[in-house]
């Protein structure tokens, strides 16, 4: 199981390195997704299954998809189709796909082993995290909700092209 941790770590570092050196944003996002999946596997081997699931759902599933939405949004128009063909040539998905397959193999290995083998001495499960979250940390949860509301209103205001005159606007 330690081997799973080290292989997932290697995949995470490699894909992060590839992600920050790509020229096209879409390629970098593909590698970033694989990197986040690798870190999720690392969380699993560290005995945090809830965090592993949240990493896949929120980071790879929501945040990176938001990035992809924005990348697509900035490239509308006539050239969009040729642009997409340039972005995703036939081989572009091969390296991220191979690394994701490797992660999938590691995950299958972990799931097969798990009945006999525990990743760490003690797995901190969902129940325990929930008790901490809504016990001593309940104020932090409330503050987090206020933060999300502020993010929502801020994002809405920043993209709003309403009748407000913006002082710094040069048209």
């Amino acid at each position: 199981m330690n081997a799973v941790f080290y292989m997932a770590s290697a995949v995470a570092v490699l894909t992060t390195l590839l992600a920050i050196t790509r020229r096209e944003a879409v390629h970098a996002l593909l590698y970033l997704i694989v990197s986040l999946l690798a870190v999720a596997l690392v969380f699993f081997t560290l005995g945090a299954p809830l965090i592993a699931a949240l990493e896949v759902i929120v980071y790879a599933g929501a945040i990176v998809i938001l990035f992809i939405f924005v990348v697509m949004l900035l490239n509308l128009g006539n050239a969009a189709r040729t642009q997409e063909r340039v972005w995703l040539p036939k081989g572009a998905w091969r390296a991220p796909g191979a690394l994701a397959l490797l992660l999938g193999g590691l995950l299958l290995y972990v799931l097969k082993q798990e009945s006999r083998w525990m990743p760490v001495d003690r797995v901190v499960d969902v129940k325990e995290v929930a008790r901490a979250l809504f016990g001593p940390y309940v104020l932090a949860v409330e503050i987090a909700s206020v933060l999300l509301l502020a993010g929502l209103i801020g994002a809405y205001y920043l993209v709003w092209r309403g009748p407000i005159r913006r002082p710094g606007r040069r048209d």
Partner: protein, 102 residues
């Protein structure tokens, strides 16, 4: 069987954080800069979870959820800023906004 030492997980977190920081400093495309911020948030959360796993406490995972919240709010505001930036400057080069007025 021995579990993974905490130091190794912390080294992984440090490497990921350094990669994110290097990318943030090197790249000039705002999308890449936001991506590197996400990498750095993720590395900080990994350090929290590793420390929480070391002492088998739930606090590290709670802190990761707080970081997740901050990252989600940050990416929403950041991408909204990015759209406004592109609308204004017609480019994603951060150096296009180096001049200030007022």
């Amino acid at each position: 069987m021995a579990s993974v030492p905490m130091e190794h997980a912390l080294v992984l977190a440090a490497v990921l954080f350094a990669l994110g920081l290097a990318g943030l400093l090197v790249r000039r495309n705002i999308i890449f800069m936001l991506m590197c911020l996400e990498i750095m948030f993720n590395a900080a959360g990994l350090a929290f979870v590793a420390a929480g796993a070391r002492w088998a406490q739930a606090d590290g995972q709670v802190m990761f959820m707080m970081i997740l919240t901050v990252a989600a709010a940050e990416v929403a505001v950041g991408l909204a800023l990015l759209l406004g930036f592109y609308h204004h400057f017609k480019t994603l080069d951060a150096d296009a906004a180096e001049g200030m007025r007022g």
